[in-house]
Amino acid sequence: MRCKKMVDVGRRQFLRGGALAAAGAAVTTVAGAPAQATPANAQVDYPSSRLANIADLAVNEPLDIEYPDADSPGVLLKLGTPVEGGVGPDGDIVAYSVLCPHKGYYMGYNAEDRTLNCPGHFSRFDVEAGGQQVWGHATQNLPQFTLRVDDKGDIYAEGASDLIFGRPSNVL
């Protein structure tokens, strides 16, 4: 399903987010002084990454994205009808991680019934129902990316609903 069309993944924003998370995890001790923890935010800081412009999207044609960083592949979709979590003027634009939250296989998009399907162990997820697992082995629904559309029609990803496969933190 990997579409060849590469999009802006907001690399700069990603790096900033990653650095913040790393600082949050660190604990520094100064010799001779009382131990002092660097305060960390309670919530992961997500990068704001430009994924595409609405004009780049055609109904039911998946666009490859990477969010929150280049190691986390995802898909951006315009579905043509308003759906749960959908953004844009038609409320129909959604984005998901495409790593199966069962064992991390790269899923393919079935445009006919609008599902993401895992070739590893046959799980499938409904992109029209908030990434709900239709049937499968994952113990969660698909991480759905939180989207924002600005005045120019640029679509930004700014968060995720669930933990992405293969990482202890969505922002590494």
Partner: protein, 818 residues
């Protein structure tokens, strides 16, 4: 809204986290996991952690990942600790794979920190002053013992009815089956008892055992090297998930053919096609209940073509005609192949007619099973079967017909062979003899419905969700137990003696006193007068064996909630109170029978029971064997390792029937149509066949999953798969709440449009808390009181439009589509 966890970061297990061996306590496959626990104020880092990998890197497919459902905060030795339960890549059963059930073990633990499973029972409760009141163990057990002792001494032990699990995993296992078994089969001789999933105390596979073939005779590795897999009434991708994904899959990738015998197209068939290619998968979508005819035709064709394994038949099976005659405990004669053929002989044309499948497909199946290869080598074939035939038509003869084919082709006791139950729970049965129960046993549900029994002890069973004829069962038990609640309420404020008098008067007037031992306040528990909170696997040490007889110790890593205890120790508590009360009553001889329960721990119960019969096996030795354990029977201990048995009957000697000649018997499986009473008539007078099915997402009757948001979000009502044209005809939309009704009762669920469903056939998920399929199953059972849940017919009507909850879920096909 699809359920979102809103979790974007998890604690990291530190390198010095405690590590515990865990066998998944859900299905029979028993996947290996490791449980990591560590103090609340500690954590690992991306570079230095319990997994020994750089967690700062995105892990690839099959990489180590702690999913949110694998994490929780639980109590361990009275302290809150982090818990991570992750699949074990070194366990040969699952090789690191995880199912949607096992992957949620941590999340389905009770936690007062994260708020999970707050439905778990924490303290004993007694019916007092119009409701259930928490109390101490001594108070609750004293009441149980006083009422039970009074009733069985005034009448007999036949007035005590017991429902008790016989399985491993969950809250079962060798410890707990022994505790309950010793109480009811040794201290007492209770014959009015039943098992969790059937209305009597009996085997699901009497015929296989009577033929000499224990039903779990292979090793899972046999699937990897076989030529053909035959699955009958099974759906392993859903119900034995990692058996399919880790073993059957390898067989299919190695070139094995796959035959599914099932009226319904399942996701297992879909997956087999994806792996092996459609040309190597044969789905025999037979008419419901006709499996026996199919297997008789396969046997006939194999015999007539000369594809039998004559050497094996001569050496390992009975040769002298009839060995055991048909009788009251024996719904078919047993004997030599020639003898059985007199009853089994069925042409492929006859079978095609009765089963409703093409004759050519039956012949193809016979070829895939037994036609020798071009070089003359015999084909290896594994046959597996489960509830589609176990809870099906004419259980005894149907399973006999299946085992016949495996015996005739020499496919038992050999690598790449086997003829096995797939299984539901793990096994973990060790009890004193049940011979006093008799064969056929008492039909317990009917006994209770007809007013029998005065005291009812229920151990981890919720028949309200799962039994057959459930509507009537519930009506009667509600009424009879309410009589005792009323009597208790009327005796409020009186002495213990007056309370017991009031209860005994009520049960003598037709009421029933109910004691429910469970981990949650179940539906049947609503009838209880005393509720005793039990522990589960990993809240105690627990031993079980899986579907290839692999015995493991699943270790305790957390405290049970509140004052909950392992079932074996609850049974011991009942026994000790019985002894004390009986002695007070002057029944010294009877009281002496309740000695021998001075167990402090579950390990004491294990040593008192299982280890007596298997002296090589101890907790310490099992712990050392880790998640790969040892395959039973254990035959020795050498070089620090327990020595097991990979495959039964490798020597060609069959002994499950107890015959001295150790020869397997064939079953004279003569076809007689619908065997259980009422089935033919019900079929003729209703529009839809109501298939009773399972789903991978639910463990059994959802006793934990009913309190799990991820699960309930997916199916807020039990699904009823239905052909879209049938739905259109009834004016139904996806998710509409519908009622299935017939003369037995009614139940409800939501319509799930399924294009592969045949017209006139619907498939309803079993055991749901919000719609019991058993309500509409008639009381018909076979001669040995095996229920036929699978064959129910009813009509369907719309109850309501889809609720907002139902409208929000996906109704797309469950089949993988690339």
């Amino acid at each position: 809204m699809a359920y979102k966890r809103q979790i974007d970061r998890l604690p990291i297990p530190p390198a010095d986290a405690k590590v515990h061996n865990v066998t998944c306590h859900y299905c029979i496959v028993g996947c290996g996991y490791k449980a990591y626990t560590w103090p609340r104020n500690k954590q690992g880092t991306l570079k230095d952690n319990a997994f020994g990998i750089d967690l700062g890197q995105q892990q690839g497919a099959d990489g180590t990942w702690l999913a949110p459902a694998m994490y929780n905060v639980v109590q361990q030795d009275g302290k809150d600790v982090h818990l991570a339960v992750v699949p074990d890549p070194d366990c040969v059963v699952n090789s690191g794979l995880v199912s949607i059930r096992g992957g949620r073990m941590a999340e389905n633990r009770p936690s007062r920190v994260t708020g999970t499973q707050q439905q778990r029972l924490t303290d004993p409760m007694v019916w007092r002053n119009g409701t259930w009141q928490p109390t101490s163990w001594d108070d609750a057990l004293d009441l149980v013992a006083r009422v039970t002792a009074r009733v069985v001494t005034q009448g007999s032990e036949d007035d005590l009815v017991v429902s008790m699990f016989d399985h491993g995993g969950s809250a079962g296992g060798y410890e707990n089956t022994w505790g309950t078994g010793k109480l009811y089969f040794q201290s007492m001789k209770v014959k009015n008892c039943r098992i969790h999933n059937r209305p009597a105390y009996n085997s699901e596979v009497h015929s296989s055992r009577d033929m000499g073939v224990g039903e779990l005779n292979y090793s899972y590795s046999d699937y990897e090297v076989t030529d053909t897999i035959v699955m009958v009434g099974g759906n392993s991708l859903e119900t034995q998930t990692n058996l399919f994904l880790n073993h059957m899959r390898k067989g299919l990738e190695n070139g094995a053919k796959f035959i599914s015998v099932d009226p319904r197209r399942t996701v297992t068939i879909n997956a087999a096609e994806e792996i092996a290619g459609k040309d190597n998968v044969l789905h025999l979508a037979i008419k419901p209940g006709t499996d026996m005819v199919l297997f008789n035709a396969l046997l006939t064709h194999i015999v007539d073509q000369g594809w039998t394994d004559d050497e094996f038949i001569k050496a390992s099976t009975f040769q002298g005609g009839e060995a055991v005659a048909e009788g009251t405990g024996q719904p078919a004669g047993l004997g030599s192949l020639d003898y059985a053929m007199q009853s089994c002989r069925t042409t492929t044309a006859e079978a095609a007619e009765i089963c409703g499948v093409p004759e050519a497909d039956i012949i193809k199946a016979a070829e895939w099973i037994a036609k020798p290869k071009e070089d003359g080598a015999r084909r290896k074939c594994v046959t597996c079967y489960e509830k589609g035939v176990i809870w099906g038509n004419d259980n005894y003869r149907t399973i006999g017909a299946i085992v016949n084919v495996s015996l005739a082709t020499g496919n038992i006791g050999r690598e790449g062979g086997g003829c096995c139950r797939l299984g539901g729970h793990q096994e973990g049965y060790y009890r004193p003899s049940d011979a006093h129960v008799g064969r056929p046993p008492t039909y317990i549900d009917q006994l209770l419905i007809s007013g029998g029994g005065k005291v009812y002890h229920v151990w981890a069973c919720d028949h309200y969700k799962t039994t057959l004829n459930a509507a009537e069962f519930k009506r009667v038990l509600n009424r009879r137990s309410q009589m005792v609640k009323d009597a208790i309420d009327a005796a409020a404020g009186g002495s213990r003696e007056e309370l017991v008098d009031a209860i005994v008067s009520a049960v003598n007037a037709g009421g029933i006193f109910v004691v429910d031992v469970d981990i949650i306040h179940s539906q049947i528990g609503q009838t209880a007068h005393v509720i005793l909170p039990a522990a589960e696997s990993n809240e105690m040490n627990l031993t079980s064996m899986n579907g290839e007889r692999r015995l493991r110790l699943s270790e305790k890593y957390m405290d049970p909630p509140g004052s909950a205890k392992p079932d074996c120790l609850i049974a011991a508590g009942i026994a000790r109170h019985m002894e004390r009360v009986l002695r007070e009553m002057g029944e010294d001889a009877y009281a002496d029978q309740f000695k021998g329960y001075d167990w402090e721990t579950e390990e004491d119960a294990f040593m008192d029971g299982y280890a007596q019969g298997n002296p090589e096996v101890t907790y310490e030795r099992l712990r050392a064997m880790g998640n790969n354990g040892v395959q039973e029977p254990v035959v020795g201990y050498e070089d620090g390792k327990l020595i097991g048995t990979p495959r039964l009957y490798a020597d060609g000697k069959f002994d499950r029937h107890g015959r001295d000649d150790k020869k397997a018997l064939f079953c004279a499986a003569g076809w007689r149509g619908w065997q259980a009473p009422g089935k033919a008539q019900e079929q003729a007078s209703h529009k839809f066949w109501i298939n009773n099915v399972r789903a991978n997402i639910f463990w059994q009757n959802q006793f934990l999953d009913q309190d799990n948001d991820f699960i309930q979000d997916r199916f807020p009502y039990p699904f009823i798969e239905m052909n879209p044209d049938d739905m259109a005809e009834l004016g139904l939309n996806a998710g509409d709440l519908i009622e299935i009704h017939n003369e037995n009762g009614a139940t409800q669920g939501m319509a799930y449009p399924t294009d592969t469903a045949q017209r006139g056939q619907v498939a309803m998920v079993f055991g749901s808390p919000s719609g019991s399929q058993g309500n509409v199953v008639n009381p018909g059972v076979n001669e040995l009181v095996l229920p036929d849940y699978k064959h129910t017919w009813g009509n369907i009507r719309k109850l309501a439009d889809a609720t907002p909850q139902a409208r929000a879920v996906s109704f797309k096909s469950k089949e993988y589509k690339a």
